[in-house]
Each structure stands twice: as C-alpha cells, then as structure tokens.
Amino acid sequence: MRLFSRIAIRLAATLIVLMSLWAVLFYFAMADQIHDEVDDALEDYTTLIITRKLAGRELPNAGDGSNNTFTITPVSADYARRHSHYRYHDESVYIPEKREYEPARVITTIFNDAEGQYYELKVSTPSFEKADLFSAVLLWIVALYVLLLLITVGITMLIFYRNMRPLYILLEWLDSYHPGVNPKPINNPTRITEFKRLNVALQSAIDRSEQMLERQTQFIGNASHELQTPLAIIGNRVEWLLDESKLTDEQAMELYKINKTLSRAVRLNKTLLLLTKIENSQFIETSQVDLVAIVSETVESLSEIYISRQIKFTTDLPSKFEVQMNESLASTLVTNLIKNVYVHSEQGVEARAAIVGRKLIVENQGREMLDREHIFERFYQGSQRETSMGLGLALVAAICRHYNINIEYSFVNGSHRFEIDFAE
C-alpha cells in the first residue's frame, strides 16, 4: 500500500468519526434551539389568552391561520395547587384545518379568575418533524463530509507530493542500486532536515556495505591466492614421493588419495579466485562468441567423460548463435550448466540443450523441484555428491550477473530447466 493511500484512508476514517459526532451534537443543539423559540412563542400566546379571558374580551379564533389550538378547562383548587407551573411536552395533535395529526409542542398552565375559579389552559402549536430535521441534518453532513474529504485529500496530496519528492528520489536511487556495481553518489538536494539526514545516512550505509563487500571479495581473493603456493608445495611433495620412492601399493594408494583430495582443494581455490575475478569485473575483453560451438563441444566431451552415467543428451541447436562476451566466461557458463546435468542427474535420464531465439535452455529429468531461492548460492548442495563443490551454479549466476543476463530455473513436466536469456 502506498503511503499516500494509507494517509487518505486514515484521513477519511478520522473525518467520518468526527463528522458523525458533530452531526449528533448539531442535531441536538438545533432541536434544543427550536424548542426554545417555540416555547417562548407559546408562553406569549398563553399570556395573551389569559389576559383576554380575564378581561372578558374575545378569545383568538381557532381558524386564524396560526394553527395554534387551545382548550380551557375548569379545574379544582386542589388540582390547581398540584399543577401550578408551566409544563411543556411534545405530542401529536389533530389539526382540523389540515385534517391530520402533526407533531406539536404543548404548554399547560393554570390560572384563576376573580371569582377564584381555577382553569387549566392547554395551548398547542405545531412543531417540526424530528425525522425531517434529522434527515436534513444527515444530508448536509454527508455533503459536507464529501466536500471536506475531497478538499482535505486534495490539499494533502498536493503538500505530500511536493514535500516528499526527496523520498521518492531516494527510493528511485535505491531501486537502481546493485551491490558491487559502483553506485553513483546520491544526488538529492533538499532543505528538509530529515531528508538531508536520510541522504547522508543512506549514502554512508551504502558506502559501508560497498566497502564490506569489496573487502570480503578481496579477502576471498587474497586468501585463495595465498593458498596457491602451499597447495603447490604439498602437491609437488606428494608427487615426488609417488614418483621417486619405492612404496608399497597401500602407501601409494594413500598418497594418491591425498593427491585427489588436494586437487579438490586446488579446484575449489581456483573457482573461488575465478568468482572473485568475475565479481571484480576483471574480464573486460569481449568478443563475438559462438555458443553453438561451445555447447556441442561441451556435450561431446562430457558425454565421453561421463559415459558411465549413460545420460541421453540431445541437442537442438541452430547453426550459429553469437553473443558478445568474454570467451572464457562464455565457456565457463556453458560448461558448468551442462556439467551440472551430468554430475547431478540420475543414471540414464534424458537431458537436452537447446537454443531457441536468444535463449539457451538446458533441461534434464529429475525427481523434484530444487530450492529456487538457493540453487545459485555458493556451496548449495541439492543432492549430496562427494566430488561436487556446489560452486558451478554460483559461477553461472555470477557470470549472468556480470553481463546482466537473466537466468531462470523452473521445474516443468518432471524436468529441471535452466533458461538463460541473452536478450539484446
């Protein structure tokens, strides 16, 4: 959810609560005010009637258009004592002129004439329809709400995007950032302190992580490099023993095994150096490389070496497919991808390498999908195989990253499938 959508929703929700509260208060205040006015008018009218009655003058006519009605009832002194005050209440009154019941405000009071006779005077005047008032208030409140919301959201949006622009510039910059690929410095001039600090913090965080990455790469590079000489020495001493001494078969076999293990260490070391070099972008020279030639040669060699695995490898290649790459990296890429098939698949499965359009596809039958998240990581071992180092696909991925080539793994119809897209 975008920050602004969230702000808009929150604003709308807050406004709806506030406006509802406001509507309730407004309604009651309004009703109260109206009652007040009506009550005053009723009181005046009552005084008028009483005055006229006591003076013996003509009482106001019922049909004078004011819709007011009144009744004068003689009451006992006792009743009068108990109901001596003005009493107000609401009730439905039949208005003969309109021939319908209407809500009315009623005042009841007591007065006495010169003879000491008590009367109860009941005056009613048509009041307002509460439901009408309520719906009127509701309508206007809703209208106000919509208007306010539009204005508020509009203004907020304007202010938000004006002031948040540095944030979006930063986000864009972050999107364009790839670890290890020399980032350009953040160019995001702003007068807002928070964004200034964010700029500085982000720049220094990225610088630090770049430094760490570089140091790590350098460390692996240096460590592998420093290992070369000792590895050479051990290997040469073992070879010397094998070559020059009279050994029993067991001793010789033991030395051979040491040597085999050592070659694994040497290979591992070389691969790490190669990875480091790719990541340091030390393969600058590129040329037009024909992948078809590399694929067919690789398949031919590997099918010879892994003849015991009886893998049915078919190829589906055009006559030529050239890409602009470093030749040795192109070869490493293809070799590792295809060797992966031979090393990791089960005996006798079918496999295929194809070039379709600008895509190189390598697939082989397998049992289950590999962990898509991790297969391109260093030292990931899907099926544990002693002689495998788990660096082949890491190399492939590093080369693809280096050239911005898209590589995808999928598991389709019981086959592992690697697709490399050399899109131009």
Binding site: T229, N236, S301, I305
Partner: protein, 227 residues
C-alpha cells in the same frame, strides 16, 4: 643446461630445484629481486623460472630488465596470480611460457624441456623417445619413420606422456590435462582407461619401443622397452 629459479618461497624453491636437478639440469636459485638481479648480471642461463610476486619487487620488471640487457634466456613465468592481464603482459614482455600455481612437478619439467627444445630447434618441437617421434605442431606421430594414425585424444595423451617420460602420471592428472576443465567432478575414469587401452594397442601394433605401463593401479608411466 643451466636454470635459474627465482622464487621467494623456500619450500617451493627446494621442490623445483630438486625436480630439475633430477632431470640433470644445473640449478641455481634466487629468493629476492635483488639477488636475482645480481645473478643475472654475472651469469648466463638457459632458462629462467620467474615468480612474479617477489618480496622486494615485481617479477615483470625483472623480465623487462632481462630483455633490456639483451639476454636471450628462455623465461617461464610462474605465478599464483592466474590473471589474464599478467599472462598477456608477461608474454608481451617476452616470456616464453606462463605456468600458473599450483602446478604439477611433471608439468614444470615438461614446460622447461619444451621451451629449451624450442630455443634449440628454432620453433620445431619434435620429441623423440626410442623409435617414436612426435611433432606437436603438425600433430604427427611416427614409429620407425612410419606414420601412426591416432585419434585426437589418443594423440593428446601420448604427447602428455612423451613430455614426461619415466614419470608416474596418475589418472586424475592425465584426465585433467587432456580433457581439461570438464573433468573436475568425475570419480569414474572409464573414459581414460578406454583411451589408454586403444593407444597401447596402436603403439604395440606399430612395434613402438615405448609403452605405457601401469603403476600402483592408479597411474601410468611411459617407459622404453628394454630390447
């Protein structure tokens, strides 16, 4: 044949000189840039093995210096840095070969032999052992003057053995150098056995005086048959 080894690691220096002395070369060593420089000023060598990274200087500078002195020594650069730029720069400066660490002793000896042979014969690299002669450039093998036809891999294997006669070569080493990078995850060497079997049969059929004998069950050695 006099060889100068310029290498700062004492253990590696010892191994290299031992291996070369065994091949009847005269070996001298230098462990620093300065020592190498003074030896080069005073003596002539047939071949110089040069480590690029020296404690007190860069081997490439030494190479420039050697060429500036107008010396015609064969130079093989030995380096732990497998960087292509180093290799290209080294060869540009007139090195004859480039041997990346770690290397097999047999490889070292073969490279030294190869540059010395090239130096002597002006580019022709023919190797002769017993009644077999092999020419790497034209990829021809002759037994008693009769051409022996070999498949590509068979030829590569024979070349590898003829460059390292009388040394034990184990099957991993052989597979790695003949089949290259493809081979590094394999633990089944059926493909090597098959090729060796064919090569042995062809050599025997042609009545070659050399044969590839098995050693310890995992290695091979090229030997001259005693008549």
């Amino acid at each position: 044949m006099k060889i100068l080894i310029i290498e700062d690691d004492s253990s590696l220096r010892e191994i290299m000189s031992r291996a070369l002395r065994q091949e009847k070369f005269t070996v001298e060593t230098a462990s620093t840039f300065a020592e190498a420089d003074s030896k080069l000023a005073g003596y002539n060598y047939d071949c110089i093995l040069l480590d690029i990274m020296l404690p007190d200087g860069n081997g490439l500078q030494l190479l420039e210096h050697i060429r500036a002195l107008g010396k015609r020594e064969n130079v093989i650069i030995v380096s732990a840095r497998n960087a292509i730029e180093d290799r290209v720069q080294g060869l540009d400066l007139g090195a004859d070969d480039y041997l990346p660490k770690p290397f097999h002793t047999a490889e070292l000896v073969a490279r030294v032999r190869s540059v010395l042979r090239r130096g002597r014969s002006g580019g022709e690299l023919k190797i002769e052992i017993g009644n077999v002669s092999l020419s790497p450039s034209s990829r021809q093998v002759k037994v008693e003057g009769q051409e022996l036809s070999l498949l590509k891999k068979e030829f590569d294997i024979l070349l590898y053995f003829m460059q390292r006669p009388a040394h034990m070569i184990d099957k991993t080493m052989l597979a790695e150098s003949v089949w290259g990078d493809y081979v590094d995850d394999t633990d089944n060497f059926q493909f090597v056995y098959a090729q060796i079997k064919n090569l042995r049969r062809k050599l025997a059929d042609a009545k070659a005086s050399i044969e590839i004998s098995s050693v310890y069950g995992f290695g091979y050695k090229l030997i001259e048959k005693s008549a």
